[in-house]
């Protein structure tokens, strides 16, 4: 532990969202590394700049948008010097100099000076009543002007200008927007959407003068009007210049740091001086500058990683999306939507409903989207855009959005805007829309993770994740911080599932502590999310070598039964292919009576579930079931569950093949294997498909000429029919393909990622190539599965019932009574 004397000094110039977000991220990673001093010119704590428009419009107050109060700085031992401006960086002595001449030394310096509004060099630009739109001070002046004056002119028909104009109009001023071009928000909108927006703002009373070039601002003591290049004039008591922002890098430039349109930084957010970092709107990264919040949060994370001396994160730039924060107008735009010869467009225009959607595709991927009137699917398109998803399979219905593609979850609802506050969003935890909105505004939440932590919404089954993201987007405007494209495995690390799997192999890592050490886990023993994931990855990577860590298993897999709400367990013996015998049924009946098991239930997977077994009875229950020849059904496992079958050609008059026999053969070969998430199979004897094989992880449909193999179906959180993989002629080929497919999934799937999600991510063709087309690869996959099975196929019940494995698990340590 470093004491106060030896701590390094971090100085932050700029008390805005970028600088403070970086400090927050740094504190999470290395709370004791630095003495931190923050300089901010504004006399406030850190506030949410993107919500200035609602403050201007009177929908929020300044207090509503404060992110970090003065107490927060104190609580975290940060020295906040607000109202003090830094005028010089002395790189030779490593000091910053304030306006008043005070010198403050630094070991590391973070520049987060943001941007300034561009003030056009017009005659009269310095007159009282001419202002920019950038901070609380500007908003205060606009609010004051709206009470004293009547006519406002806003120069600039971009996002900021329209939000300013809307705010002033709401405060009772008559507002004219002057724009140089003939399309509003031309950087975000195409002419059609720009026209719709203009029409709808005009209906609200906004006046437009465009295209028009401003030539001079008129007035003597105060602004009185504006003159244009065509000679016309407009009266004005207030002129707001909102033509854009310019990165504020004067200070950095004066200090000799290399700047172009902003302070030039590397992928590690470092300037040309290695001790000096920069983040936010003042930087230029890979020739790009950003004026939105989401990229700055990404940058903050990377910068904090390096300030914390972890040194592995890199910033690769951001794709941004925009949503106009004018209440009642739904507008969303993302990506690149300029027409081009290699681009295709899908357009939906419904003038009566006031809906316009334009999706731009390139190489089967979404590269841009403009939505007007119905922006519900904005975040969904944006997700696909950032992930580079191949959307060709849903192209026909793409323009209708997520709900029409069955991605809206079980409820099928996706219209967040139309929902009342009482509408339940998260069915698992009973969280309604109003509660989420309240948490976002009261607790100042930005990300899906924040919302999960505070409300529990989307933290269980996850099927409402899309809805919660939409609530976030609607509540915060388009600038909410979308979940990162590459998701970290859990909060204990910044590494993704893929990174972890790759490094385990490359570095020959063979224990959980070794992985955590090498990959610099942020927590001591990880958590309930990453430990089971790591345990699985190691088990799947090093069969026969890795020693399964019982303490990193979820309870169900540790005790080989399913925990119930009252702390008892349920027991499901395996019934191969769903076939049982009188003696097995008799044994189950005897066990149920002997141990007073309260509920006996038939499962959906053609087996029998014994519910309400006390933990200490488990070994004895298993012993009796073992005696009758039954073994664990792994109904608790992220592993092979059931192979559901129909009776097939042995009995059925329509059966084409022996589906029951094939199902049993597959189950006997594959039982005991661990997989990223549960795997359920089905074998149907004819296309009537009585075993419902086409909504399973893997399904076989027998036909007269052979076996059709399907996979990537689901019938739970999501309902999804399977994809056709291939058709084979013999049972042996069928087994080989299914086993190879499962092995590929075992090697590539992310922990808890079901097969259909894996297929979505990796792509059907990719999988088919490696499992079907490449015969050699198929055989190699099959061999690796078979090898790992020799260590996996040992009945965990008999090990515990007879060999005394984990004896301590099932008995109390001691018993006490009251004296």
């Amino acid at each position: 532990m470093l004491d106060k004397v030896t701590k390094q000094k971090l100085v932050v110039i700029g008390n805005g969202m970028a600088g403070i977000r970086t400090v927050e991220a740094l504190l999470e990673r290395a709370p004791d590394l630095y003495d931190i001093t923050v300089f901010g010119s504004e006399p406030y704590g850190n506030y949410n700049r993107i919500l200035l428009s609602p403050v201007l419009a009177g929908e929020k107050t300044v207090d509503d948008i404060m992110l970090n109060t003065v107490d927060w700085y104190e609580d975290n031992n940060i020295t906040l010097r607000k109202g003090e401006t830094i005028t010089m960086i002395d790189r030779r002595t490593c000091e910053v100099v304030t306006e008043a001449g005070a010198r403050v030394p630094y070991d590391r310096l973070l520049i987060a000076t943001g941007s300034n509004p561009i003030m056009l060099p017009l005659p009269g630009k310095d007159l009282p009543g001419v202002i920019g739109f950038r901070d609380i001070y500007d908003v205060d002046r606009m609010i004051k002007a709206s009470t004293d004056y009547r006519n406002a002119v806003v120069i600039g028909g971009g996002l900021l200008g329209l939000e300013a104009a809307n705010g002033l109009m709401k405060r009772g001023m008559s507002v004219t927007v002057v724009h140089l071009l003939d399309t509003l928000m031309e950087r975000q909108l195409d002419p059609v959407a720009g026209g719709l927006l203009r029409k709808s703002l005009e209906e609200r009373g906004m006046v437009f003068k465009m295209p028009a070039q401003t030539q001079a601002i008129l007035g003597e003591d105060r602004v009185t009007g504006v003159r244009f290049a065509d000679g016309t004039e407009l009266p004005a008591d207030l002129v707001v210049m909102a033509v854009g922002i310019r990165p504020n890098f004067e200070l950095a430039k004066k200090a000799g740091l290399y700047c172009e349109r902003g302070i030039v930084v590397s992928d590690t957010m470092q300037t040309y001086d290695g001790r000096i970092y920069a983040v936010g709107e003042c930087v230029q990264h890979r020739r790009q500058t950003y004026g939105l919040v989401a990229p700055l949060f990404d940058q903050a994370k990377v910068c904090a990683n390096h300030l914390a001396m972890k040194g592995f994160a890199t910033y690769d730039g951001s794709v941004t999306s925009t949503k106009l924060k004018v209440t009642g107008i739904d507008l969303f735009s993302a990506g690149d939507f300029a027409p081009g010869p290699d681009k295709e467009e899908i357009v939906l225009q419904d003038a009566n409903r006031g809906v316009y959607k334009r999706i731009i595709l390139k190489d089967k991927k979404i590269v841009g989207a403009v939505l007007y009137g119905d922006t519900i699917d904005g975040p969904w398109y944006f997700q696909h855009l950032r992930d580079g998803t191949d959307v060709s399979h849903m192209r026909e219905r793409l323009v209708f959005g997520a709900a029409n593609l069955g991605e809206g979850g079980v409820s099928g609802q996706s219209s967040v805007a139309a929902m009342s506050d009482e509408t339940e969003i998260c069915g698992c935890n009973g969280v309604c829309k109003g509660a989420i909105v309240k948490a976002i505004t009261d607790k100042k939440l930005f990300t899906l993770d924040d919302v999960r932590a505070h409300t529990k919404a989307s933290s269980s089954c996850g099927s409402c994740t899309g809805l919660v993201e939409q609530v976030l987007a609607f509540t915060l405007g388009g600038d909410y911080s979308a979940a990162p494209k590459v998701k970290p495995l859990c909060k204990c690390t910044d590494h993704s599932h893929d990174d972890v799997r790759r490094v385990i192999v490359e570095q020959n890592l063979k224990t959980i502590p070794a992985v955590m050490r090498f990959m610099e886990w942020k927590t001591l023993n990880g958590c309930h999310s990453c430990r089971p994931a790591l345990n699985y990855y190691l088990l799947a990577t090093w069969p026969g070598e890795y020693v399964d860590d019982q303490q990193s298993r979820f309870i169900n897999e540790r005790v080989h039964a399913n925990i119930q709400k009252d702390g008892t367990y349920s027991v499901v013996p395996r019934m191969w292919g769903g076939v049982t015998t009188p003696s097995e049924l008799r044994a189950i009946a005897d066990v149920a009576e002997k141990f007073n098991i309260p509920t006996v239930k038939v499962t959906g997977g053609q087996r029998i579930d014994l519910l309400g077994v006390k933990k200490e009875d488990l070994p004895a229950v298993w012993a009796d079931l073992n005696d009758a020849g039954m073994v664990s059904g792994h109904a608790y496992a992220k592993g092979l569950r059931t192979v559901k079958t129909c009776v097939g050609s042995e009995w059925c008059r329509f059966g084409t093949q022996d589906s029951t026999g094939l199902g049993i053969k597959i189950e006997k070969f594959m039982w005991g294997s661990w997989t990223p998430a549960k795997v359920k199979l089905g074998v149907s004897g004819c296309p009537r498909n009585c075993a419902e094989a086409t909504c399973k992880d893997v399904g076989v449909v027998c036909v007269d000429s052979g076996y059709e193999i399907h996979f990537a179906g689901a019938a739970g959180l999501h309902i999804k029919g399977t994809e056709f993989l291939t058709k084979v002629e013999t049972e042996d080929e069928c087994l080989e393909v299914i086993v190879a497919l499962t092995q590929l999934y075992r090697e590539e799937g992310w922990y808890l990622e079901r097969m259909y999600k894996w297929c979505d991510r990796v792509g059907l063709e990719q999988i088919r190539k490696r499992v079907v087309d490449n015969v050699e690869n198929r055989k190699a996959l099959f061999a690796r599965f078979a090898y790992s099975q020799q260590f996996a196929q040992s009945d965990p019940w008999s090990e515990r019932a007879r060999s005394g494995v984990d004896r301590n698990e099932f008995a109390p340590l001691a018993e006490l009574e009251i004296a």
């Binding site: 309930h528 303490q551 925990i563 340590l813 001691a814 006490l816």
Partner: protein
């Protein structure tokens, strides 16, 4: 009276794991951390009464197996933003033996 009761050997509790001690007032979960500290809590999650002894232990915390509430072993407090608290009991290790202090309790003879 509150006195220390010997409840078993430290080695009988797995590292990053837990065992239960039965009492007429319900189970007490005794946890062992990676660095061989022990903590004792009522085996009931403040959320929906889940058996904390069955959860995954990480650092000085345990995650309830029912709905992933995370509980601090030392204080019994739920980790923010969750709220709630589970009753704790004094516990210690001496020479590889675990001792527990529970009001009015004695070992079953």
């Amino acid at each position: 009276m509150t006195g220390w009761i010997e409840i078993g050997a430290l080695d009988d509790i797995p590292r990053l794991g837990s065992r239960v001690v039965r009492t007429p007032h319900g189970n007490i979960a005794v946890f062992r951390t990676e660095s061989d500290e022990v903590f004792a809590l009522d085996d009931r999650c403040p959320h929906k009464g889940g058996p904390l002894s069955q959860g995954i232990v990480h650092n000085k915390r345990v995650t309830c197996p029912l709905h992933n509430f995370v509980i601090e072993l030392a204080s019994g407090q739920a980790v923010a933003p969750d709220e709630g608290c589970t009753h704790t009991h004094p516990a210690k290790v001496e020479n590889g033996v675990v001792w527990l202090s529970v009001r009015q309790a004695v070992p079953v003879s």
